[in-house]
């Protein structure tokens, strides 16, 4: 029998929810451990098997000078590097700092801001090192995570669609909350993966999985306005877990500008 591939799970600026998604794969953890050697996973075990690693899962965004150094080390010891979750793939909710002045936050929040070393912006892993695959979600979906690992093990392309949440929503037979309820929903511009979880429970999509492959955020924003949302509400819808994903960033910028300079078209 050939040696099992070695898996490492790394954490940067994040809430640990994506790592917990892996731990929540209760029925699959034992078969997974049979196929793959869990070599480095501090969230689960203190035992450490030395690298290099065949597959690294990276959670979290890059927000400190130390992160910046460490992500290069992770890349160096990983054959395949896969980012998991909105933080690692777009900068996460903490990328809200990208729209503001971090020095000001620091002085307001901390008694001794001089002890703090932080970067001005929260950035995705791919902004710094080569990433082999980005798994979206806040948090990631366990079925997608298992599909990704199964594909890695089989050496095949993972089945992770990049189309909209609407496709999944219709497939599961849910009634459109936007059309039938007038609810603000980011489903049309958001990538599938969650199984249309929120719309299936009569809530609009929050955009946890980031932009779909062809996102028309401007048309989406026009529809949200037509449904009665004001500029600030539209701005806030695009500025959540994937605020720094480029199409969402541009759209929120547009509404910020529209609020500051009503009636003028401002480039994002």
């Amino acid at each position: 029998m050939t040696a099992r591939p070695k898996l490492a799970v790394w954490k940067f600026a994040s809430c640990d929810g994506c790592q917990l998604t892996l731990l929540n794969c209760e029925d699959e953890l034992v078969p997974l451990a049979g196929e793959i050697e869990i070599a480095y996973f501090p969230e689960a075990t203190r035992a450490v098997v030395e690298g290099p690693y065949d597959v690294s899962l990276v959670e979290g965004s890059i927000t400190t000078p130390a992160d910046l150094e460490r992500i290069h080390q992770v890349r160096a010891v990983s054959r395949r590097l896969i980012t998991i979750g909105a933080c690692a793939t777009s900068g996460g909710i903490q990328a809200l700092r990208n729209f503001a002045d971090v020095a000001e936050f620091r002085s307001v929040v901390y008694a001794h801001p001089e002890y703090l070393e932080t970067l001005d912006r929260s950035t995705p892993v791919a902004a710094h090192v080569t990433v082999d695959f980005e798994l979206r979600g806040c948090p990631v979906d366990r079925h997608q995570l298992l599909e990704l690992l199964s594909a890695e093990l089989a050496g095949r392309r993972p089945r992770i669609p990049t189309y909209s949440v609407c496709v999944e929503c219709k497939r599961r037979g849910a009634v459109c909350v936007m059309v039938a309820g007038g609810a603000p929903c980011l489903g049309p511009v958001t990538q599938a993966g969650c199984g249309a979880l929120c719309p299936a429970y009569s809530r609009g999509c929050y955009g946890c999985f980031g932009p779909q492959d062809t996102p028309n955020t401007r048309s989406e924003a026009d529809r949200l306005r037509a449904l009665g949302r004001d500029e600030v509400e539209v701005l806030r819808m695009f500025r959540t877990f994937n605020a720094a994903a480029e199409p969402f960033r541009q759209e929120s910028r547009r509404h910020e500008a529209a609020r500051q300079h009503p009636g003028q078209e401002v480039a994002p």
Partner: protein, 388 residues
Amino acid sequence: MDTRILTTDGLQALVDALHARGFEVMGPVVRDGAIAFGRVRALTDLPAGWGDEQEPGRYRLHRRDDPLLFAFAAGVQSAKPLFFPAQEVLWRVRAGDGEASPTVELTPVAVTAGEAPVAVLGVRSCDLAAIGIQDTVLLRRTYGDAAYALRREGTFVVAVTCSHPADTCFCVSMGTGPRPGAGPGPAAPYDLAMTEVSDELGHRFVVEVGSDRGADLLAELVARGVDAAEARPADRVAADRVVAEATARMGRRLDTDGLKELLYAAAESPVWDEVASRCLACGNCTQVCPTCFCTDVRDVTDLTGGLVERERVWDSCFDAEYSYIHGGSVRASTRSRYRQWLTHKLAAWEDQFGMSGCVGCGRCITWCPAAIDLTAEVAALRDEGGRA
């Protein structure tokens, strides 16, 4: 068997008789603020006293002040998923233990085993025409779809005249309604077709027979003493009036004259750019269309590699990956995807299958989150063509 009149009690007896014959009866029910297909055991499951309002990008239910059971337009989905599910396994292979050979489960036998045959109650004329189109697309080509064939074969269809078309409806333009099978459109295979009537003679259903099975079921009801009198001239007149009134209430119109040529000539029209600026490329139109049949086929393995499944899922020509071939997507822009969808639906479909791919149900208009209306887009192409 002649045209018969059923009361609401008679319709309940018909539902009971279908259950007794082993059918799962699926019909319109109210779910999450819309009319959807669901299980029907008693007439109380049906949307009695509910009506709908539909316009581009908007759908709302409202209460009506009458007891009508079918006084609404096309629901959230057609009957399509009953025969052509959004996701199904085509085959699966399990690795054998040790030296044992792998076991292969070939569908459709495996997937359809244990599924009760479906009786569709209250399918309206547009959706019936769509079933006719899907039969052509999925069964009458060189290689038929075996799972679809198995599901369709056993189906019993009780159609209904659409008495309350929506603002988004245009079945009259497409020759598919509002009376089941009455238009020049594609074959609309039904066993029984009913028209719901409520006037001074009472609330009743004028039931026409479309097949031997339909006649047989109706004869069984008569033999059991169910009130199913032969239709009087007044009943036929009342049913015709329902059809005439619905025809007059069509919310939209699609000028089909020379449509294929118009679309083929409009490939480079600026209208596509304009619609692409609004189109969300979300795929909703294709997911609610009763004739869209595009699917994706992919293999999945489990963690251990001991199980491999080939799955088929609904796909959409609005997805970037749909047209992905080596090197990239053939249709990278939303403009090209919308053009592909509309041109295939209304023009290329004729060359491919000898009929239009649109039945005028209006779902793509209602359920478009961006409120795009294909009848307006065709009109814009026509205007633009006229100016050129």
